[in-house]
Amino acid sequence: MQNSSVVKVERVTKRFAGHTAVDELTMEVPAGGIFGLLGPNGAGKSTTIRMIMNIITPDEGRIAVLGKESASRELSERIGFLPEERGLYKKMKVLDMLTFLGETKGIRRSLARTKAGGWLERLGLADWKSKKVEDLSKGMQQKVQFIGALLHDPELLIMDEPFAGLDPVNSQVMKDVVVEAARQGRTVLFSTHIMEQAERMCDHIVIISRGRTVVDGPLGEVKRQFGGRHVALTFTRNKDRAARVLADPGLIGKVDDYGASAEVELAPTGDADRLLRALIQEDVGLARFEIVEPSLQSIFIAKVGPEAAVAPAHEVVHA
């Protein structure tokens, strides 16, 4: 297998006792850049990532990481992994903990210690390196976990919901770290269900729902495919009249209503000029009328909205 894809998932299926978590999923992560694995809760994101990390094995299909099949452990020196379920040894000192994590990836103890020290310095935790993990705040522990995934300078960084549970400040710090890693030529694969984040960071996205791919492509391309038919609106008065206009099925396909503003997708029979005319006629005090690229959020909801509602509550691992 030789091509530029860093992770290659081919027709992979994984079934658990009650249900099929991943269903003939195929995706390729190109080298370099940030790759977003998106989907609602229970879509199979964590299961997919666990299979990529070879923590669990697929029932069917093949997975290759860095050109090798089911060998992610031998390659652990080149891969950084941040699991969804964060975990550290609470009684260990921070620096010892990170050194240990580095060692388990396969790098030398002394090197792991130096690198860990550098990262702690960089993320403002230098004063805490001799403290026990349990003495750290939750946010600091998250940072430590983050360092654990990064400190051996992996060329591939796989992170499961890396920004979940972070406060805005820490979230920003982590985002910068991830973006910088990508800028240095590393490949980042991360999963999330927070679309704003993905929209700002990702070069390439895959949206999965109920174990299947529903959208796959570079972010720009995906948006273009959905683009041209979306209009962003803001009204200043007569919202009820505006709502009546937006309720016309011959004109409007879908409405994402935020009250004073809305993002709409035109119906196949409708066009933007007609919509503008209708709104002016109804005197809604138009403050904004913009033909926009759809937000990832609206693409996401358009694609998985109806299905997400009935998706299984949460992924549970039991083989």
């Binding site: 452990r73 652990s76 992994f81 550290l88 388990t104 691992v317 039991h318």
Partner: protein, 437 residues
């Protein structure tokens, strides 16, 4: 290999650093020390001299002789041994009951008040033919006190009887002299200098150490796996190590900690054993009834056999405990689930008592080939009478195979178990996990 080493190092360093480890390492020898010193201490100090009122209803000198014998009795040996009894004799020929009743009110009171007897001993003329005497006291429930009193009186009563029928006491004493078998163990055609008793102590000690180490350190393996599951650290580790490597590292690490702790204890025990006399003296305790415990010398070949089977047994049971830990999400669940494993440990330990009686019985020979039990059975048998080389080799082989099988099964359970949270696994789950590719 570097990864496994990292796991082992972490297990050892983090464990040895804990307060629990340091405390238990130091407190256990302290307890041993107390056990060495305390009995002697108790015998010579807390018992003290007992005040006894002797009601003498005899018409001859029996009462007087008993009084003399009791006054001569000492606690411990040496020049400054204190007397066992302080006796006051009341002549009461024909009115023993009245005298006794007059003494009872003063019995059991504090020694400082008038009288203050621990008890009243009544002897009469009928004591010689019937062997009966009466004792009324506060300490009648003390088996040892009563036995000592009887032993003090017995030779006098016997001598009196013999005298009555005209037999010389010295002649009788000479003719009833018993046999004292002095035992020395022969091993591989050589005298070892060990007595039978010390061989027994050694055999018992080996079984106990293994039993103790398996229960303590086995459950440490189990609980630490549950902690790793609870803290979700397993997932990070599972991404860079195979579950088998994780289990191997953990079991080896805990095993090394066990050896460190047992080594420290053995060293301290050896020191205490060989310096027992000085230690007792330092505490001002007379070396009463000889050494309270003595450490038999352990021959090199037995040491090798013990260490080999200890290691195999530890790996086998620690792997089983690891599997139990992987199957559970809470320590409470694990406490139940570990029962089958504990039963084997217990069976192994208890089998030692049966085998000590006859280490070459057919039962012993069968158990020599049961992998879960060999770690207990073989060192015991070897310590008493060495096994044929072929039998020993076969037993090692069977144990290694059994160990590998259990480690294999355990690692398959572990592999799935560590990533499944929530309810504890059932037997069906377990079988399914083992069979999953």
């Amino acid at each position: 290999m570097r990864k496994i080493w990292a796991i082992i190092r972490r297990e050892v360093v983090e464990r040895v650093r804990t307060r629990t480890f340091i405390l238990s390492t130091l407190l256990f020898p302290l307890l041993m020390g107390v056990l060495v010193v305390l009995p002697g201490f108790l015998i010579s100090r807390s018992l003290g001299t007992k005040a006894i009122a002797l009601v003498d209803a005899t018409s001859d000198d029996l009462g007087q002789q008993i009084e003399t014998a009791m006054q001569a009795a000492r606690i411990g040996k040496g020049p400054d041994a204190i007397p066992k009894y302080s006796v006051q004799r009341f002549r009461a020929e024909g009115r023993a009951d009245q005298v006794r009743d007059s003494l009872v009110p003063f019995t059991g009171l504090s020694r400082k008040s008038a009288g203050g007897w621990s008890g009243i001993l009544v002897v009469s003329d009928s004591t010689i033919p019937t062997g009966r005497a009466a004792y009324y006291g506060v300490n009648v429930a003390s088996f040892d006190d009563m036995r000592e009193l009887e032993q003090t009186m017995r030779p006098i009563v016997i001598a009196k009887r013999l005298q009555g029928i005209g037999v010389d006491l010295a002649t009788v004493m000479k003719s009833v002299q018993g046999i004292d078998l002095s035992t020395t163990k022969v091993s591989s055609g050589r005298l070892t200098g060990e007595s039978g008793a010390s061989t027994f102590v050694l055999a018992y000690a080996m079984g106990f150490i293994l039993y103790f180490a398996l229960l303590i350190f086995g459950s440490q393996v189990m609980t630490s796996i549950i902690e790793e599951k609870t803290s979700r650290i397993v997932e990070v580790l599972a991404s860079s190590l195979t579950p088998f490597q994780m289990m191997l590292g953990k079991v080896t690490g805990v095993g090394i900690v066990a050896l460190i702790q047992l080594g420290i204890w053995a060293g301290i025990a050896a020191y205490l054993g060989s310096h027992q006399g000085q230690i007792m003296q330092a505490f001002g305790v007379e070396d009463g009834g000889g050494r309270l415990f003595s450490l038999p010398a352990m021959p090199i070949d037995l040491m090798v056999v013990f260490f080999l089977f200890f290691s195999l047994g530890f790996l086998l049971y620690a792997a089983a405990y690891a599997a139990v830990g992987a199957m559970c999400s809470t320590v409470q669940d694990a406490q139940q689930m570990q029962m089958p494993v504990m039963l084997f440990v217990l069976a192994g330990f208890l089998s030692n008592f049966a085998l000590m009686r006859d280490p070459n019985s057919s039962l012993a020979q069968v158990l020599t080939f049961v992998p879960m039990l060999t770690p207990f059975v073989v060192p015991l048998r070897y310590s008493i009478s060495p096994l044929a080389p072929l039998e020993l080799l076969a037993s090692v082989g069977v144990t290694v195979l059994g160990m590998l099988l259990i480690v294999w099964v355990a690692s398959r359970i572990y592999r799935v178990g560590i990533l499944s949270y929530g309810k504890k696994a059932t037997l069906r789950d377990m079988v399914r996990w083992i069979r999953t590719a």
